[in-house]
Symmetry: C2
Subunit: 554 residues, 2 copies
């Protein structure tokens, strides 16, 4: 959770009464209007067609069949386990895959991610066999009904007292960490299956309710409030923004708290207990930030290369309980370094989905996710950084012995996080899995990512921490010499002979670990203790998972 943490008395007064109670996403939310309706919302969201994929079923398949009954998305979502039967939707079809899932060639763990929800995002990941006619024909043999397409049912349950009532439906495969505000990981097991994360599986990290913005009314205001600035304010509609040259940038977004769970194993921190899935990768389409600032009469070249320390501030349309918007800023030189920052109105070729900032969000590649403001309402070049809580108090690394009780002492050693350090994780196998070695080796896969445009030079994987296998890398394209998207990796790692001998009889525990090296030769710390901080931010230690090697007997 990167919301407001419990502030000292003075700070709380400054920010506004009542905000001090705006507590962790783990704790019950403090204001009256919120009620625990997450279950209903999730059931509703479960099988509803995800807003960004309205028609992604293959043509001629999964269309309406008059001979079958109608089911709602809620009906599908109640069938997410073998004991209730496992249903999924695809296009206009509803299918019972209870028996099929048991013998699924891709592994029952992966197909079960779709249980109770839509198949579409997974078919995007596994396009190779799944796109084929035979697979579609097979699926049709499991058909039990039609999915009721009308959204009225969902709207009917909206509660006008709940500020989260208008949040969009989400895919049930997302690993929900906090329902209100909605925070969910991308399911780790599929993260390394495709460079581009399907929209319904892209992690979501909200601080507040999702604002409802009619794109016809959307206005982006662009200004310059520096001392001595002469330009006025430019106002742009979505259509205006689309008149700028359109660029597409592949960039990885990562929550500043990704992998906080590793920090919590050392000592508790404050925040959502994120695993390795608060990171995803997409292609963002829109207008360049620098083109838009230039259109507002701002000397972009001077900002990008000058000695001064101007900042580009962003404000969103998501409001906190006191009515203040989410806000952040990036130093101008960094925001403009190579034209990679985008005001994005598309994600993976689709109109920007509500959960990712519709109609327009900021994307500053290489910089921590918290600066890429969603539902952006204003851009402003300013002498000082954003005055928001999230810029001035939160999203900073405090020294290791600083706690919430002695903030002031640590604050002088903290600066707002921008470019992020090197990260890597194992996403397959899943933790605790019993492995099936082939020729004494275990196949594994995952991601590696460095902020600041740095690429990945090497990924090392090891069981014993002494013998390291270099993984095979799937690196992204560079943009102006910089690398803004993650590198996916896979490897076959030899099981140490000692473990193989030990496993002659009984099942034996094995720890698999990964570490990366970026192309400027930065490294990851070996343990989370080395970078522990009270907020558990930027936890990027070597990632490890425990596996089980079966004994020869079974």
């Amino acid at each position: 959770w990167e919301g407001r943490w419990a502030l000292g008395a003075a700070a709380a007064a400054a920010v506004g009464a009542g905000l001090a109670a705006w507590a962790s996403g783990h704790a019950p939310l403090a204001f009256d209007a919120l009620r625990a309706r997450g279950a209903v919302l999730r059931a509703d969201a479960g099988a509803a067609p995800c807003d960004a994929h309205p028609a992604s079923a293959a043509p001629g398949y999964a269309s309406r069949r008059e001979d079958l009954p109608e089911y709602t998305a809620a009906d599908v979502s109640t069938h997410s386990e073998p004991k209730s039967g496992v249903w999924v939707s695809y296009g206009q079809g509803v299918y019972d895959i209870t028996e099929f899932a048991k013998g699924h060639p891709g592994g029952s763990e992966k197909i079960m991610l779709a249980a109770g929800g839509a198949l579409e995002p997974f078919w995007a990941l596994f396009a190779e066999p799944h796109g084929k006619l035979a697979t579609l024909q097979l699926l049709e043999t499991l058909r039990i009904g039609n999915l009721r397409q009308d959204a009225a049912a969902a709207a009917a349950i909206a509660d006008i007292d709940d500020p989260y009532a208008e949040d969009p439906p989400r895919h049930p495969a997302l690993v929900v960490q906090s329902p209100k505000p909605f925070n969910a990981e991308s399911p780790a097991a599929t993260l390394a299956d495709a460079r581009i994360t399907p929209i319904p599986l892209f992690f979501i990290r909200h601080h507040m309710p999702v604002p409802l913005v009619d794109e016809k009314d959307y206005v982006l205001s662009v200004g310059d409030t520096r001392a001595g600035a002469s330009s006025g304010t430019l106002e742009l509609s979505l259509d205006d923004l689309k008149k700028f040259p359109k660029v597409e940038v592949e960039a990885t977004m990562q929550c500043t708290g990704n992998r906080r769970s590793s920090a919590n194993e050392v000592k508790p921190t404050k925040g959502i207990n994120w695993g390795v899935g608060a990171i995803s990768n997409a292609v963002w389409g829109g207008a360049r930030l620098r083109d838009v600032l230039e259109a507002a009469g701002i000397d972009v070249e001077a900002l990008a290369t000058g000695e001064g320390e101007a900042h580009v501030r962003f404000e969103g349309m998501d409001l906190d309980p006191s009515g203040d918007p989410y806000g952040s800023s990036v130093p101008a030189r960094r925001a403009l370094r190579d034209g990679s920052a985008v005001l994005a109105y598309e994600m993976n070729g689709e109109p920007m989905p509500r959960d990712h900032g519709a109609p327009v969000r900021v994307i500053v590649p290489g910089v921590t996710g918290a600066r890429s403001v969603k539902w952006v309402a204003s851009l402003e070049v300013a002498d000082e950084e954003s005055e928001s809580f999230w810029q001035r108090q939160d999203y900073k690394i405090y020294p290791p012995n600083t706690s919430f009780d002695n903030l002031a002492q640590g604050a002088k050693h903290a600066i707002p996080i921008q470019d992020t350090p090197l990260q890597s994780a194992i996403t397959s196998p899943v933790p605790g899995a019993t492995v099936s070695p082939r020729d004494g080796e275990v196949a594994c896969a995952g991601y590696a990512f460095a902020g600041g445009g740095r690429g990945i030079l090497r990924v090392d994987v090891s069981f014993d921490g002494e013998n390291w296998t270099q993984a095979e890398l799937d690196r992204p394209q560079k943009s102006a010499g910089r690398t803004y998207a993650w590198t996916l990796w896979k490897a076959s790692v030899p099981i140490p002979e000692s473990a193989q001998r030990a496993a002659g009889g009984e099942a034996t525990p094995l720890r698999l670990r990964v570490r990366a090296l970026d192309d400027e030769h930065n490294t990851q710390p070996s343990t989370a203790a080395d970078v522990w901080n009270m907020r558990g931010l930027l936890t990027n230690s070597w990632h490890s998972i425990d596996l089980v090697l079966p004994g020869k007997g079974g």
Copy 2:
């Protein structure tokens, strides 16, 4: 040592017969002309006025006195220990400081760095009390003679069969790691005493003999050999170069092998066993690289911002035994990123000294020292990186399990080192020192430095590895938003109570450790094992030293 390492048979043939025998600086050098004459050269070098400081004694002091005998630099150098008497030179004076050194207010360790040599570089460091009249008057009371200024004695001993015979004299305080080629550390104890390292104490890292270049004959050739390039070759004399706008850049140079000794503690590597002193900081004055390339008709803006992967190659005038010059290259985008790269003809305001590349050397701030070619003869924009051994084979990080026997396997995971990762070290107290706590705290100091223009956010110092004290930082100026010079730090670190209790009786060992955080939140690995590689390059683990806490009895 970053010379040529033993190559595989095929590679050796490719590089040229005989070079495979051009072994480590530790091993005897292989070619006939070299003889072990280091002692004579050092004796000569000891008290000779360093070439960059011909007249740095205070006016009116340390001038010739007719009543005193004459001594040569060699005479002074034979008095470097208490048992022979401790002599130093200053200006034209020779002084016996045997008794004075014992009670020196700055500590006898530091004054003893000058024993047998010249005082000038230390007076530059300790300008505060030393510059004062009283100190000069005190020194004059210790006067025993005049320093013979004539250099004929040195020339007379030159051996024309020795390729190193023309190497310049050096200050005896340098910590010599290899006499031929000359490689020496800056004395660690004084490294953190001043932001700008005095020239005679600046570390030296040579691959070959120092070339003798008459600045009147100096020609820099500038060309563009990219496919389709149309510009010809520009030739510039030193006077031509001085007509470009002169810039001064404060930048830290660090040998890629600095701190290799920490890697060697894990497992032996190949190379000079550098401690923490293969790093120094200076102000470099000269013409901007980009201005010079522009003058040669090259489109610098396209190089700096384009998608292509052009390189700027540099060749020196220092020749290997087969007559090939030292060479390296830097990707053009990096070399031109903000105009910080300089063709330097001045160092700390003096004409470039021979040992640092006279008359002109390359300085690429933020990039590892090996790319900042000394005695530069040519610049060339090219499609491919330099073909030199030092670019293509050496100065790369090979994977941890790669050895000289399986190079090819590791080579595919290695790229030439450019920007360097975060480094830090404790330079005071010296390892093994018995500390004198004040209020239960030990005072310490050192440096921290990150390549790539990253600044230092925080330096943590600790005795127990759990409670970390944040050091006070002396940060450099930024240049176009980037930080190219080191940060010096100092701290008072509390001694853990358990150690204080243990020291009630006997002397107790204490381990002091330091780690830094750069302003893009990169960290150092906790142990050298985490970054061990067969060449021991870029060893940047947390630095620690062992100290002794005296018992209460003594």
